[in-house]
């Protein structure tokens, strides 16, 4: 049995006070000067420990308050109020919601699973990943109880091409060429960021994080600097064509390379394989309505890994775009129908914002996922996209200490890993490889709605 994979997390404090959902508004004027002020009775001592972060003028009252409302209720002159903090509401956008961002911050700071304790208060269903649910009917099985169960749940996935059968010569010798395969201990790799402030230190944080987690970071060839070469075994190098300035020895040190899908794909793959036959070549393919056919063609041409990418909202390109999960389902089922699904590794990326999104995309047919924005959020990004417009980053991400960033990323992924274990335990599975394409372990809102309402003559 393989050793248990465990991610060591520890509290890594924020550099800036986190933006909280609500703020305290406490008037001084009108104070009755009671013998004992309700502020003195705060169990968390937020009024006594009050401080001001002068970089952002954020009052520690807000970040320390635990919303118990004791002071609000007990002030006899009603001088203390709590109101929704509009800065919180302005975080991110309709996809990268303030709730998602603050939950990612919490996980990156503590390494723990976010638990509200108040049950799920969100809508019954929604768009994108909220249009599907995982079927947790096995949640009662105690031995396979996610993080704490006795049975080991493996989150390891294989990246590479697989043989469907081995061929032997009459003398018993193996004829089949065994293609290279890389095992990563969790189905997550780090992708190129859609936007960021100057990212030298950010990429170093990704590299340190990926190395300690045992996974990979995609980096454009032109970005690769000398001091990143110690991380080569954790880098997926994105190359657009043959990089003539690199010697062959360089490619022998790499384990994975990514190339964009183009007319040159096959030639480039052959060129790389000739230099290093152990190298895994991943083809990057933007998702679109044509993707299922193209994936089939690439897989039949011998491509090992296909990286299917959507935009930062999980939407594909082209008219009438599908959401990544729907298109992934299409592609997976198309390859199953053609009988070649198991030969190729499919990796999906774009719009993965929470641990459950990763599990849901795997259920829809991906072997693993790539993530980008959550890694920035782990380092306190507010998804304001000011950096994209050339405006200074409000949390000075360009100046982070890479080791601090790596620890925050490790915490975040530690939280996601535990959530994946919980999901696998609850759907009754012992390894994430088996979750791939297991659509029977999920329910799709649209299908259920059709099923129930079709008999009433109501189809939307």
């Amino acid at each position: 049995m393989p050793g248990r994979y465990h991610i060591h997390t520890k509290v890594v404090p924020n550099r800036f006070p986190a933006i909280t959902r609500s703020g305290v508004i406490a008037w001084e004027e009108g104070c009755l000067k009671c013998a004992r002020c309700v502020k003195k009775d705060c169990v968390y001592k937020v009024y006594e420990k009050r401080g001001l972060d002068t970089r952002q003028m954020l009052d520690s009252l807000d970040s320390m308050c635990k919303d118990c409302f004791r002071c609000v209720q007990n002030c006899p002159n009603r001088l203390i109020h709590k109101g929704i903090n509009p800065v919180y509401r302005a975080l991110g956008d309709s996809y990268w919601t303030p709730e998602i961002i603050s939950s990612l911050w919490f996980q990156a700071e503590t390494g723990r699973i976010p638990v509200s304790g108040g049950g799920y208060g969100g809508p019954f269903s929604g768009k994108g990943f909220d249009a599907m649910w995982t079927d947790m009917s096995e949640i009662v099985r105690p031995t396979r109880d996610g993080i704490h169960g006795r049975e080991y749940i493996s989150t390891t996935v294989d990246i590479g091409r697989k043989l469907m059968a081995l061929e032997f010569a009459p003398d018993g010798g193996l004829i089949s060429q065994i293609p290279p395969l890389i095992e990563i201990p969790l189905p997550i790799m780090f992708d190129i960021l859609p936007w960021s402030p100057p990212d030298d230190k950010i990429i170093k944080a990704f590299l340190h994080g990926a190395r300690s987690l045992g996974t990979f970071v995609c980096i454009e060839e032109s970005y690769l600097q000398h001091d990143m070469e110690e991380f080569l075994s954790h880098i997926i190098l994105l190359i657009e064509g043959i990089p003539h300035h690199r010697d062959k020895g360089f490619f022998q040190m790499l384990r994975m390379v990514e190339i964009p899908d183009s007319g040159e794909t096959k030639a480039l793959q052959e060129w790389l394989k000739e230099i290093n036959s152990e190298l895994i070549v991943m083809v990057k393919l933007p998702l679109s309505a044509e993707a299922p056919e193209r994936v089939f063609q690439l897989a039949t041409d011998g491509v090992e890994v296909i990286h299917l990418v959507a935009d930062e909202y999980g939407m594909e390109w082209g008219g009438n775009p599908f959401f990544i999960a729907d298109r992934m389902k299409d592609i997976h089922l198309f390859l199953v129908e053609k009988g070649i699904r198991d030969q190729v590794t499919l990796i999906g990326g774009g719009g993965i914002a929470m641990a459950e999104h990763m599990a849901k995309l795997i259920i829809c047919g991906a072997d693993a996922v790539t993530i980008d924005i959550p890694l920035l959020v782990a380092m306190e990004c507010r998804v304001c996209r000011r950096c994209k417009e050339g405006i200074p980053c409000p949390v000075e991400l360009e100046g982070i200490d890479p080791l601090w960033g790596a620890m925050r990323i490790t915490n975040l992924i530690g939280g996601w890993h535990n959530q994946l274990l919980e999901i696998l335990g609850a759907v009754g599975m012992r390894e994430v490889r088996r979750l791939r394409g297991e659509m029977g372990r999920s329910m799709f809102f649209e299908e259920l709605e059709q099923e129930f309402f079709a008999t009433m003559g109501n189809s939307r």
Binding site: G23, I25, M57, P86, R386, E389, P392
Partner: protein, 144 residues
């Protein structure tokens, strides 16, 4: 990177009830002024403390503005009236240390229709005639 303007550094405190799209609408100014403008949105102008205004000046601002809604419009009742008293108090304190009172400015705006923070701030700083503060002959640091 953002274009940087020479001249005074502005700290803008403002009640967010003024402009629901403040985070988007202020970007034009952030781009234009770079590190010479800092925005500090607050849930209600009554939340301002004299300490906030003084700290802003201490950390490099030459001018601190507080933008509030008009009297009678505060969603928390009397926030802007309380803000006025605190601004007065802070103005008194900077005067004591030898700075001009008008380095802290209160702008109260009766808002009938949605207004962009960009317009409000441009109007506010247009009338400024104060130069950067000379602290014992040394200017505080900004990234020029």
């Amino acid at each position: 990177m953002a274009q940087q303007k020479k001249g005074p550094v502005f700290a803008i405190f403002f009640c967010q009830q003024l402009d629901a799209r403040q985070d988007i609408n202020r970007r034009c100014l952030e781009k234009e002024f770079g590190s010479h403008i800092r925005f500090f949105p607050i849930p209600c102008s009554g939340r301002i403390e004299p300490l906030h205004l003084l700290k802003a000046i201490e950390s490099g601002a030459d001018m601190a503005y507080l933008l509030t809604c008009g009297e009678g419009d505060c969603r928390y009742g009397e926030g802007n009236i309380r803000a006025k008293k605190r601004v007065n108090y802070a103005q008194g304190l900077i005067e004591e240390i030898g700075l001009e009172r008008k380095r802290i400015v209160l702008i109260s705006k009766k808002i009938d229709a949605p207004v962009s923070i960009d317009i409000l701030v441009r109007e506010a700083i247009a009338g400024n005639d104060m130069l950067p503060i000379q602290w014992n002959g040394h200017n505080l640091q900004v990234d020029d």
